[in-house]
């Protein structure tokens, strides 16, 4: 169920040093929808996610969430505004236990809220409860992705930014991970922006797809229609 514009980007430019990656991105995502960002390698998908998460400051343009200008806010302030960012590859603190990782995910929560939120994510990812004392570096790829997702979800984000949540996973686990994203979206009404190498799976769970090429959104597509004719879609995308 989607309603009204939740997030909008207006002519956003971003660069790493002198190398411009985003060249005037315009994008609007509705509340409660899953939007897939699709494009060839180097098109700026991860950079765009970083800009929305507040990790990279845009060189120009504006970012609005629910109408409020958040362009100049820090990554920490965006977490307080309920934006959750899942880093590419599912990063965790490898030298720390699973439980410590989860606690650190909720670092910005009030101590009184933390235990209830830990119970919530433990219910969402019961497998993690069984390995809570293990070092995160000892987990399997799938478990580590689940932990990274749990660390983001502990803050109950209204906007979830997922940068390749299924990178390095087997096809079965990719499906499982993206189904889990869909479940979260339906259960909590979380708005999701998804960057995913596995385009077919990303299109399967999303309601809209934005095609990014050379740092610009070149088109907005209906995922179902793209899935109907995959070959034509691949030609159009790349």
């Amino acid at each position: 169920m989607t309603t009204g514009t939740f997030l909008s980007l207006e002519a956003v430019h971003a660069a790493y040093g002198r190398k411009e990656i985003l060249r005037g991105v315009n994008l609007s995502v509705n509340s409660g929808e899953i939007a897939a960002l699709i494009g060839p390698n180097g098109s700026g998908k991860s950079t765009l996610i970083k800009v929305i998460a507040g990790i990279l400051k845009p060189a120009a343009g504006a970012i609005r969430m629910n109408g409020e200008d958040i362009t100049q806010t820090s990554a920490a302030q965006r977490i307080d505004r309920e934006i959750g960012y899942f880093m590419q590859g599912g990063e965790v603190f490898r030298g720390m236990s699973v439980h410590e990782n989860m606690v650190l995910g909720g670092y910005r929560l009030k101590p009184s809220e933390l235990s209830a939120r830990l119970r919530e994510v433990n219910a969402l990812f019961p497998k993690l409860q069984t390995v809570r004392g293990l070092h995160a570096g000892a987990l399997s790829g799938g478990e580590r992705q689940a932990l990274a997702l749990a660390m983001v979800l502990i803050n109950r984000p209204r906007l979830l930014l997922l940068d390749e949540p299924s990178a390095g996973l087997s096809p079965a686990l990719v499906k499982h991970t993206l189904n889990r994203v869909k479940e979260i979206n339906e259960k909590y009404g979380t708005t999701v922006i998804l960057v995913e190498q596995n385009i077919k799976e990303a299109l399967r769970v999303s309601q809209r797809a934005f095609i990014l090429k050379d740092g610009r959104i070149v088109s907005e597509e209906n995922p179902a229609r793209l899935l109907e004719d995959e070959t034509a879609a691949v030609h159009r995308l790349f």
């Binding site: 990790i55 977490i79 880093m87 603190f93 660390m151």
Partner: protein, 290 residues
Amino acid sequence: MIWQYIVNGLCAGALFGLTALGLSLIYNVTNVFHFAHGAVYTSAAYLLFLFACKTSIGAAPATILALTLAILLGVLMDRFFYAPLPAGVRRTVPIITSFGIYIVIVNLIALGFGNDTQILHPGVEKTFEIGPVIVTRIQAIQASVFALLFLLTALLLKFSRYGRLIRAVSDNRKLAEALGLDIKKARLLAFSYGSGLAAAAACLSALETGMDPYMGLAATLSAVVAMIFGGVRVFAAAAVGGVMLGVIQSLVTWQTSARWQSAVTFAILLVVLIFRPQGLFGAKKRLEEQ
């Protein structure tokens, strides 16, 4: 005889261990190779000398004052010299900055107090006999302070909110930023606690052998070797590496002479770097982490 050298080495190593633990905290959290740690070390000893011998405030307030000011010095170094460096600057820039700070401070100390060794605690030291081993009162204090601070640091790092913050930032800084962890606080904690450990080691060393303006250089070099020897990425390993280095140096003195201590120390460093770069207690990085 060997036991006496081992005990002497353990006590000397305790000081290397404290200095190395402080250096390791700072390096792992900030990625700054804080060579000016040696200037904090030297300053702490001279501050203790100043307050204990040139005023009548008493030993305990003099020690507390020296430690506090040394901690402040470490924090100010970060605040004014390292923290303002832009992100993504070449790694050599903070190292050169650090050398600069070290040289300026040590020369100021030499200007103020002269190059001669200053004695903090003249006279014959009280000793204890434990079997075949003679331990001086200062050695006993050195070993006890090391054990206490090592345990306290381990407990704080493992169980406190701030300890978790320090470990998280040193484990994965990018993720820590993405999760909104307070990186500035972690930095402040690392510099203050790390400087405090170096200052404590300096005061304990000054009690035993006095001080000269260049004492921080040897202490920092030993701390660097201890850190690499134990394992750069493991906090406790730096401290244990320091103790082991102290024992090795003492045994070298026993078998050859004190002149060979530095040669053996750096030979160990080379061997470890070639055959076990992750250190004795460090885990090898997985390919995906490199």
